[in-house]
């Protein structure tokens, strides 16, 4: 269904149902915003007024406020973002010669009650000593704010949107407005996320990092030219036409930690529904044929997350499909609002659009609800979310086929996550536990997405479905609408495994997380050898009748062979291993080994020798660096060699024929 009267329809629906959901308060709601903003499409600017209600929910008085002014990251080459990124983000560069390409935000006035704070604002740089970075400000308060007190701050701001960069800005008539208003940092209590003393957590805008914020209620009034179609976090309450050919849309979002919106005159709107969740896709007209790819992906994700993590708590979900020239804003997450990405003519067998839609949707949980600190522990959002993305993709579109399935060539989403890590040129480049802007040698992507995802998947393989489901549900129930840290998750794992009578990996899983998070070690086990010798009873020279008699007498009474295999740990990661030992008569033994020593020999007395050995036969350990050396066969497995040699011959013959002149 597509329609241009949808905003109006939504308006009627929203008055009827929305106030009720208001009664259920899901979060602390200590950072609420009432914002009125006008988009000037001529000058690409925003003019806004923001009233912030901020409550001190810690046990300590607060004598200054800290805010993010993210758009200043795009102000000039001196910002920390520009320095770190080399003015490129995800392959898209800044159009440096165009003055319109740069972005900024100014606070023109900041008051609390009768007190004017404007003159007290100063830029701070808590992460580096870049005095030119203007993405964080500090404002001292005349009187400190005691625990439990709420302050109201009245802010006027003007902002200029950049040409789309790092997923925010404009491209022609398309606007993706994210990180656009003065946003208060998180004042953390002592003990929260294991910190020793209370204090502000308000990081600068970095090239490799996302965000961290408190929950609240957002009432946002957006004024745009009349012809624009708008989508936003939250639910549209009403829409009013103004006299000057503009219109104002009133949005409200409860229990969210950010607010983003989009506007374009070209969007085609497609709506759908999953249970009580209204799904709205804002599509480029050319991509209308791919509407279902977006809606079904979101529905699959909603269903999977509800079953395996927790209920989706919001009433709506908006998916934005950016235009070709605005692709730098593709693949980004905000509460109840994501950007996906698709291209005209992409066949259904290539499921990038599904993957990105499911991934960004998943961030509603990992970061949106389980509000970890994306600056400091990127793996808690990107890693967990990639893990869920892999499972959803493989579950709905087929394991080993979910991402690509063309001309007999196919790959699953999880397989590609695994490959992204194991095929790294330098797998030692970085550990997972890193602040996301501190990857001096690179490796942020794999360390935050692939590596934690496959470690989580391996954890689930080791612990079994029941235990790992329980871990995820407990994590969600305990930490939803709060700020968990990595250790909080580990504590839950340790708590849950203790209740599992079949748990076989020691007293807890700390050994696993230490290796996973704090080292760059790799996992590589190999079958070093298989050898068999005939059992000998008497062999050699024996005294007989005054002479020496040479005897070869094989022992045929018990077993014919002493047969053994040696397993070697080549990497520094120590993992408990299962080893499948296969004998020539078809007998199989599954051995278990703690994997700690450098080598392990398994010896047997049998009538038939060992003919093949396979480490980790069920492929539980996904971060194993080299799987080709995980198995060994005493005979050459030549059938596949024939297959590929024949293919190679055929293709080289065809190349020659194509060159025939």
């Amino acid at each position: 269904m597509k329609s241009k009267i949808i905003p109006l329809l939504l308006f009627f629906i929203s008055i009827q149902i929305y106030p009720q959901t208001d009664k259920i308060i899901l979060s602390e709601r200590n950072a609420g915003y009432n914002i009125k903003v006008t988009l000037d499409t001529e000058n690409k600017t925003l003019t806004g007024n923001e009233i912030l209600y901020w409550k001190n929910i810690t046990d300590f008085p607060v004598d200054e406020l800290q805010f993010h002014l993210y758009l200043n990251a795009f102000k000039n080459t001196k910002s920390t973002f520009m320095k770190e990124s080399g003015m490129r983000h995800r392959g898209f560069g800044v159009d440096v010669e165009d003055s319109l390409a740069w972005g900024w935000i100014d606070i023109t006035s900041m008051k609390t009650g009768n007190e004017d704070l404007t003159k007290l604002i100063k830029f701070i740089h808590p992460d580096d000593d870049n005095i030119d970075d203007q993405t964080v400000i500090s404002v001292p308060l005349y009187k400190s704010l005691e625990p439990g007190e709420t302050i109201q701050v009245d802010i006027d701001f003007t902002a200029k949107l950049p040409k789309i960069m790092a997923r925010t800005g404009f491209s022609d008539d398309y606007y993706l407005v994210g990180q656009w208003f003065p946003k208060i940092g998180v004042f953390e209590n002592a003990g929260q996320r294991r910190r020793e003393t209370a204090g502000w957590n308000c990081h600068q805008f970095h090239s490799n990092s996302e965000f961290y914020a408190d929950f609240g209620v957002y009432n946002v009034d957006i004024t745009v030219p009349e012809k624009f179609i708008v989508g936003a976090t939250g639910v549209l309450q009403k829409e009013i036409k103004n006299r000057d050919n503009t219109k104002t849309l009133y949005y409200r979002a409860n229990d969210v930690l950010d607010f983003a919106w989009t506007a374009s005159p070209l969007f085609e709107v497609v709506e759908d529904k999953w249970k009580d969740v209204n799904i709205k896709v804002l599509l480029q007209p050319q991509h209308l044929a791919q509407a279902k790819r977006h809606t079904s992906s979101v529905k699959n994700a909603l269903e999977y997350f509800e079953k395996h993590l927790g209920e989706f708590p919001y009433p709506s979900m908006t998916i934005v499909d950016p235009p070709f020239r605005g692709l730098a804003s593709a693949g980004m997450e905000y509460p109840m609002f994501i950007t996906a990405g698709c291209l005209w003519g992409i066949p259904d067998e290539l499921k990038y659009t599904e993957m990105v839609t499911i991934h960004e949707f998943g961030h509603n949980y990992f970061m949106g609800i389980l509000a970890s600190n994306e600056f400091e522990e990127a793996w808690l959002d990107e890693g967990f979310n990639t893990y869920f993305e892999n499972m959803i993709m493989d579950n709905y579109y087929g394991e080993k086929h979910s991402k690509i399935d063309l001309f007999g060539y196919h790959a699953g989403d999880e397989e590609q996550s695994v490959q992204g890590f194991t095929s790294m040129r330098n797998p030692f480049v970085a550990k997972i536990n890193n602040y996301s802007w501190l990857y001096p040698n690179g490796g942020y992507g794999v360390s935050s997405y692939n590596k934690p995802a496959i470690y989580l998947s391996t954890l689930a393989n080791l612990l079994g479905e029941k235990t790992s489901e329980k871990i995820m549900h407990t994590y969600f129930d305990r930490w939803k609408f709060k700020h968990p840290c990595g250790q909080d998750f580990i504590d839950i794992v340790n708590e849950v495994v203790k209740e599992d009578p079949g748990f076989e990996y020691g007293s807890d899983m700390n050994w696993y997380f230490n290796q996973m998070l704090n080292s760059t070690n790799v996992c590589d086990y190999t079958v070093s050898s298989i050898s068999s010798e005939r059992q000998k009873e008497d062999w050699g020279l024996f005294d007989k009748e005054g002479g020496k008699n040479f005897v070869i007498k094989e022992d045929n009474t018990t077993y014919k062979y002493e047969t053994k295999t040696i397993i070697t740990r080549l990497g520094e990661i120590k993992m408990p291993q299962e080893i499948l030992i296969h004998f020539a008569d078809g007998e199989e033994i599954l051995e278990k080994w703690d994997g700690k020593s450098r080598m392990k020999t398994f010896t047997y007395l049998r009538n038939y020798p060992i003919d093949r050995v396979k480490i980790d036969p069920e492929n539980k350990i996904l971060f194993e660096q080299k799987i080709y050396n995980n198995s060994l066969s005493t005979k050459k497995e030549t059938v596949v060699v024939w297959k590929y040699a024949a293919k190679f011959l055929f293709w080289i013959q065809n190349t020659m024929l194509t060159m025939f002149n």
Partner: protein
């Protein structure tokens, strides 16, 4: 045109022996690369059970593990394909000289000895012709690429959607293919003229060929359809591979036989096209060059030959 195709097909069917010899040359070249490939794969992978994951079906994990960990072992074989392609290009000039010699001078009577004599006789001229055509192709591709690049770069900055870019690219790809085909037609008829007239003047024959093609443009453009012969035979192959699969010792042997039959048929295709071109030329050729052109081209040829 159709008559020439049928006539060409008849001729090529009579030339089974020649086709088989050409096929064997391709097989021998192929084996020169495939046997070391087999040996290398056997020593590197064959003791791992992982490769068995690639038997029943493609397996991304096994495939990426092997290609990543044996990058160095695999790389030479990728470059072998490229070098053999280029090497065979020159060898094929030798073969087409033999084929055309047999068709034109030996009245389709194939004898290895005469085949080789024709090969030796015309190879030099054919090589020169290849060089000229290659240069002309490069120039025309460059000329075509410039407006294409300009259009694309200007559109990327203004166009709202990507489908326009895709359509423009498709149109250009078609133009490129058509131009490429025109040049190979030009080369084919030049070869025929060179053999027929036993001429040593490559450029002059090229010009005659241009005139011949221009005069018979409508029928000759039908030849572009022959592009579909190798394409459809490959599609048919992929279909058969999909149906049979290479999932067991038996189906692998079966597919190896199929593969080689396909290669034989592709050789037949090459010979067929050349034979029908000869037959078409026979039916349509009249004096191609005016006397004036003849003289001018002689002079031009001399200067070019000196510089080359």
């Amino acid at each position: 045109m159709l008559i020439s195709f049928i006539e060409g097909f008849r001729i090529s069917l009579r030339s089974k022996k020649m086709i088989t010899i050409i096929y064997l040359s391709i097989l021998i070249f192929g084996l020169l690369a495939a046997i070391p490939f087999f040996g290398s794969a056997k020593t590197n992978f064959a003791n791992s059970l992982l490769i068995n994951d690639l038997l029943k079906d493609f397996d991304y994990r096994a495939y990426s593990d092997l290609t990543h960990n044996f990058k160095e072992a695999i790389a030479p074989f990728i470059s072998i394909i490229q070098w053999f392609g280029v090497g065979y290009l020159f060898f094929s000039l030798f073969l087409s000289a033999g084929i055309l010699g047999t068709f034109i001078k030996n009245e389709n009577e194939y004898q290895l000895k005469t085949f080789l004599r024709f090969s030796g006789k015309y190879f030099g001229r054919f090589a020169k012709l290849f060089l000229y055509t290659f240069i002309l192709q490069l120039i025309s591709f460059a000329v075509l690429t410039i407006p294409f690049a300009l259009i694309i770069t200007s559109l990327v900055d203004t166009v709202q959607s990507e489908s326009t870019l895709v359509y423009i690219s498709l149109v250009y790809i078609q133009i490129f293919v058509a131009v490429f085909y025109l040049f190979s037609l030009l080369a084919d008829y030049t070869k025929i003229i060179l053999v027929k007239e036993n001429s040593n003047q490559v450029l002059k024959s090229m010009w005659s060929s241009v005139k011949f093609i221009y005069r018979n443009l409508k029928s000759i453009l039908l030849y572009i359809l022959t592009f579909w012969f190798p394409v459809s035979i490959m599609l048919l192959y992929l279909l058969i591979e999909d149906v049979i699969g290479m999932t067991s010792g038996f189906t692998i042997v079966l597919m190896i036989i199929f593969q080689q039959v396909f290669v034989w048929f592709r050789v037949l295709g090459k010979v067929w096209i050349l034979a029908s071109e000869v037959s078409f030329y026979d039916r349509k050729s009249i004096t191609l060059l005016t006397e004036k052109e003849d003289e001018e081209l002689d002079e031009f040829e001399d200067t070019v030959t000196e510089t080359v």
